[in-house]
Amino acid sequence: MNVRSQVSMVFHLDKCIGCHTCSVACKNVWTDRKGAEYMWWNNVETKPGTGYPTKWEDQDKYQGGWKKNGNGKLEIKSTGKAKIIPNIFHNPHMPSLDDYYIPWTYDYQNLFNAREGSDQPTAKPISMIDGEEVDVESGPNWDDDLGGSPIYAENDPNLEGLTDQQKLQLSSVERLVFFYLPRICNHCLNPTCVASCPSGALYKRGEDGIVLIDQKKCRAWRSCVSACPYKKTYFNWFTGKSEKCILCFPRLETGQAPACFHSCVGRIRYLGVLLYDADRLEEVAKLPDDELVEAQRSMILDPNDPTVIAAAKKNGITDGVIDSAQHSPVYRFVKEWGIALPPHIEYRTLPMLFYVPPMSPVQASKPEDTIHHESEEFFHDIDSSRVPMQFLANLFGAGHEGVVRYALAKQKAVRWHRRAETVGDIDRETADRMLRAADCTREEADAIYELTALCTFEDRFVIPPMHREQAIEMMKEPHEHRTEAGFGFVGGPRRGL
């Protein structure tokens, strides 16, 4: 057993209201600079929708992630070792700016400088890259709330395998439905971006698993941009370096939650440490699609198990981190309750950001003047929810419904249980039957309810001590670096010499 610790995340989609506060917080802190205008390390997508960059989930187009080759070995889909040499001058699967959007501002100066005339001066949209006038046609959240639209919703790659009736059900007037999918870097256990970097500039931090790009080692070979199936590494067109979400490590190191987590209005985000067995990584990443979710879960170790604790200590994991892992909200959602699922695990990067799938509204119709619920029961059957199970399974279960059904059934049972407890218009026996059917107990249901609905800041973010002070002491002469800003390097990043 080779125990490692990983700062992991849960996004509770049932609580996301799609307000983009997370995106704005991140933008203001990290990507509001030249070359990074188009980057949204955190973005929020409407599902069904095409997302950002457009159709990022379409791996026939972008060739992100891993694939199993003929002899059962894992291979980078885009440019692995054999393919990088002939393709280093021109990356064959790289998205270009147009796949994201042209970042724009407005020509406000014109409002002051325009010559006197009979018309009011206007501030035309201009490109933030070359200053040319742009016809604004797309943006990072251009499909926002456009569930049912023929341009966006109907082109969602996750609609594959859905029956025509299910597709119709997703988009028909007065019944259409959508939910939100906030996305940041998943800080995967088997990241393709790291594996694909010809310079070895990308790396995973051993102590907390955060995936970073060494800006001094990046040479703009662009492999990581193509290789990441989630399209969460971005190319800075000005500095000629790739960049990505850093999970706000300077904040984490000072005990603060990342900006997007901290600012989340719906309180959907949870952060905590998971201990996992790194020896099983390769074996797990090669399993068939339908076994991946369970297998990844089995890699996550019980932080209260004495053998795990002993192995963790042997690997130099500090007591503080182990203690933090024992209180991790992520561990409870992912491992104890089994209701948080990795996105698109079929890409085989083993993402460490998990989503609690959303409960969608009841199916209803309006044959006359009043709305009729299609279900007689108080909380509808999950199989007749408006978002087809297959759609959620394509997102969170590698196309297999089992794990999604389990997560939704448990969430539904929690609702029955709490209704019986607090309102009492549901009889206790029915609620208990629901709980049993969903593999849940009253205590567990209460715990899920508390961590979902009543969670405080401290409940949601259990940040481990990062012990950065040790790293700096061991690697640097403190006196030599006392004038530095604390991280990064002196002098702003600029292009070339």
Binding site: H90, S127, P198, Q215, K216
Partner: protein, 227 residues
């Protein structure tokens, strides 16, 4: 000006200045400004013509550069190969072909940069000077292949000794001063480019990814372990 002094300047002083600048500045830049070592790819801003310009140029220039290095470091291999006329023709024709490939690619690169507004924004004055130098270098090279044939042989037999005399700090310019003007132009420009090299985007040649093919797929860094 005295002609011999002029030759001394072009073929002795300039090469030493260039080589000195090259070694000093590449090392200094790598140590002080390692962030600036980047290929500064523009594929992200323009992906349609990128392939047709960049790929021919790089493959062409790669083969031509390797050819020059072989002629400098193992000249006997070239002379031995060229001892048979048919093999000489094959070498000369392929050199010309790759030279033309480089030229086509380079012209493509310059046109692409000049005509795409987005890319013009990320093209510095240094880039334009470099493109002009490279263009002159490649055009003169291709012209030599056409006007002064069997360059592979006379390079290996006459210019290699000159270059080695420079490397050995015992410069002997007898061979080089008797060369046609076009050849002299090419040599002088080549040394200028070498001297200009550390100030340009060309430094990305020096950071080609060599450990990638041998390393494990995943990279992990730990506190307290030097990279």
């Amino acid at each position: 000006m005295d002609k011999s002094f002029f030759d001394q300047f072009l073929f002795v002083i300039l090469p030493y200045l260039s080589l000195f600048t090259f070694f000093l500045m590449t090392v200094y830049r790598y140590r002080a400004q390692s962030f600036s070592y980047s290929s500064l790819s523009s594929q992200f801003l323009e992906n349609e013509h990128h392939f047709w310009a960049v790929v021919p140029f790089h493959y062409g220039v790669l083969v031509i550069t390797v050819g020059h290095l072989v002629a400098i470091f193992i000249p006997r291999s070239i002379l031995l190969w060229n001892s048979h006329p048919l093999r000489l023709y094959i070498l000369e024709i392929s050199a010309l072909a790759f030279g033309l490939l480089t030229l086509i690619g380079l012209v493509g690169i310059v046109i692409r940069r000049a005509t795409t507004t987005r890319i013009r924004k990320v093209t510095s004055p240094t880039d334009w000077i470099l493109f002009a130098m490279l263009l002159a270098l490649v055009v003169s090279g291709v012209a030599m292949a056409l006007l002064h044939p069997w360059g592979s042989s006379w390079f290996a037999s006459n210019l290699t000794p000159y270059l080695w005399s420079i490397f050995k700090l015992n410069p002997d310019i007898t061979y080089v001063t008797s060369m046609p003007a076009l050849v002299k132009f090419h040599i002088v420009l080549a040394f200028l480019t070498v001297g200009f090299f550390p100030f340009t985007r060309l430094v990305h040649i020096l950071v080609i990814p060599n450990p990638y093919l041998w390393r494990k797929p995943q990279v992990v860094r730990w506190y307290g372990k030097k990279q």
